[in-house]
Amino acid sequence: MVDASETHLKLDPDAVGRQDADSLLRAIQSDIRYREVVHGCLNCGVCSGSCPSHRFFDYSPRVVVQTVLAGDAEAVKAMMDEYIWACAQCYTCAMRCPLHNSPGGLVMIMREVAVWRGMEAVHRLLKPYGRVLLKVLSIGNQLTPDMIQPDFFPDWGPKIPWSSTDLALKRKAIPVYTLQVTSSAWRVSPETSYELYTIYEETGVFRLIEQIDPNLFEVVSDMVEEVRELVEAGRDD
């Protein structure tokens, strides 16, 4: 049984920015999911043998599990800089591990801790995702139709210029309830955004963004102020 006082994430808002190796390892191992994703390790290599990233990169889920189990905090911290970001989160490893470990799940925890602590790797890795972050922070959506632009998705093939035109019209062809908006995945009310901002503030997400990307934070702050004024003015009437 899980202690009801434990939260899903052991992400302490006051820990944003803390990066000493021991505290990073402690954060990983005290995560509520940790004992579900690591039970022990037979060093058998089934996870890495199954892993698409292991096949093509200098990356092995077995080595991640072993390093964390060995409790070598400095080595774990070093892995959080680049090594673990090769995982594709496909969870084939978890389907096959004879101990029912989930090396991919362990990597997920490590990534969340890396983000939460504002590690240098995160600045680097999140750069290409500035637009996604802005959407998530402002309306809670990840990808929206107006983000589909040829420059941003060169790897999406020759159809992408066509896909990025006449967005409003193409949206009408989608038989689900999107209200034909193109700047969000579905219509998001200001009330919803307002609630999101409260959550981001209470949990320390805004503080984290300020640390990782001050420019983005400035843009977001202006937006938050606007929405809050709008919603509060509506409530006063």
Binding site: G45, V46, G49, R55, R62
Partner: protein, 347 residues
């Protein structure tokens, strides 16, 4: 004279029956199959580890006494029906070939094991790719003629053995080690070398458990005399490429990721409690241990004692075991029965 029922005529049951008969007790040997010898007969093991004895000869020696002995009644193709406890033992109904009712003073359960069915571990493609076979199927191939690829009958130029199939794996529900498969595979590799002097023979292992005296007798010998290669890494999946099994995995020591084609792949499948063990345990009120085998109630006192007075266990019914150990436990169970019945040597 006291009458004892021995259920299961594999190495353990045969030995128990023989010993009890020699001590002058009447024995009813109940076997569901039409033949005696258990797994040895079922899979026609050609050579036995660790001494490379001839399987058929061992089998012959095991069954000879029992079939000829006046005190042993052999009931093949027979099964236990209803069981009732009585004052001095058990009233047991037999069904099948021998349909009767017997009163016995003690019972030995020697029902053995079944092989893990590798279809339950889909990553190895057993049942899908014809050149992926089990260790038991390799025994049958070696007994019947030259070892060959099932797909086209050709003599294999490369053979891979995969260890721990169906053992040591939560995904398939078996968290124990089957104890014999490392040594059996190594024995098979050494035998295979006689037939295939040029072939590449590779063992994919997680640990090589040729414990005790088997270390040099099997593991070193396989490398030094038979040129067998051991690669540390549990194979992650098998697919097929150009009609040959393609093994994918991580060599955790040397190569890192590999994709490796073989002509023939042998799965070292583990041992599970025999089908029907649960039903038989329930009929006699015998507890099972967490893996489903019959529980030895006092292993520090005697391997044969169960929680139920008068009911004893021997061989692979209580956990993965070698022939040698099963035979030994047959004697242990016979001894426990004598003690239970208070049999004394007459001067």
């Amino acid at each position: 004279m006291a009458k004892v029922m021995v259920i299961g005529a594999g190495p353990a049951g045969l030995r128990a029956a023989e010993s009890l008969a020699r001590f002058g007790l009447d024995v009813l040997l109940v076997e569901q199959a039409p033949y005696l010898g258990g797994a040895l007969a079922r899979h026609r093991y050609g050579g036995l580890m660790p001494y490379f004895d001839s399987g058929p000869q061992v089998l012959k020696a095991m069954t000879a006494v029992v079939t000829d002995h006046a005190r042993v009644t052999v009931c093949t193709e027979s099964q236990v029906g209803r069981v009732e406890s009585t004052d001095g033992g058990f009233q047991v109904e037999l069904m099948g070939q021998t349909a009767t009712e017997e009163h016995v003073q003690a019972v030995i359960l020697a029902t053995g094991f079944t092989h893990f069915d590798p279809r339950r571990d889909a990553k190895y493609g057993y049942g899908l790719f014809p050149d992926v076979i089990t260790g038991a199927e390799l025994e049958e191939q070696m007994a019947a003629g030259p070892v060959h690829r099932v797909s086209n009958g050709a003599i294999p130029e490369s053979v891979a053995f995969i260890y721990c199939v169906g053992s040591r794996d939560r995904q398939v529900g078996n968290t124990y080690c089957s104890r014999v498969c490392c040594a059996v595979s190594t024995k098979q590799g050494i035998e295979l070398r006689q037939q295939l002097p040029q072939a590449r023979i590779v063992m994919f292992y997680m640990d090589v458990r040729t414990y005790g005296l088997w270390e040099d007798q099997l593991y070193w010998r396989a490398q030094e005399e038979a040129g067998i290669v051991y690669v540390k890494g549990r194979v992650a999946e098998i697919t097929q490429h150009d009609g040959r099994p393609l093994l994918k995995g991580e060599d955790t020591l040397i190569r890192g990721p590999f994709e490796w084609e073989f002509d023939l792949v042998v799965l070292a499948t583990g041992m599970e409690p025999a089908a029907g063990t649960a039903a038989l345990a329930a009929k006699f009120g015998v507890e099972r241990e967490p893996h489903g085998f019959l529980r030895q109630a006092k292993p520090m006192v005697s391997a044969a004692i169960t929680n139920r007075p008068g009911v004893f266990v021997a061989g692979a019914a209580s956990g993965p075991k070698t022939v040698e150990d099963s035979v030994m436990e047959g004697d242990v169970a016979a001894m426990a029965v004598l003690e239970h019945l208070g049999v004394k040597a007459t001067p």
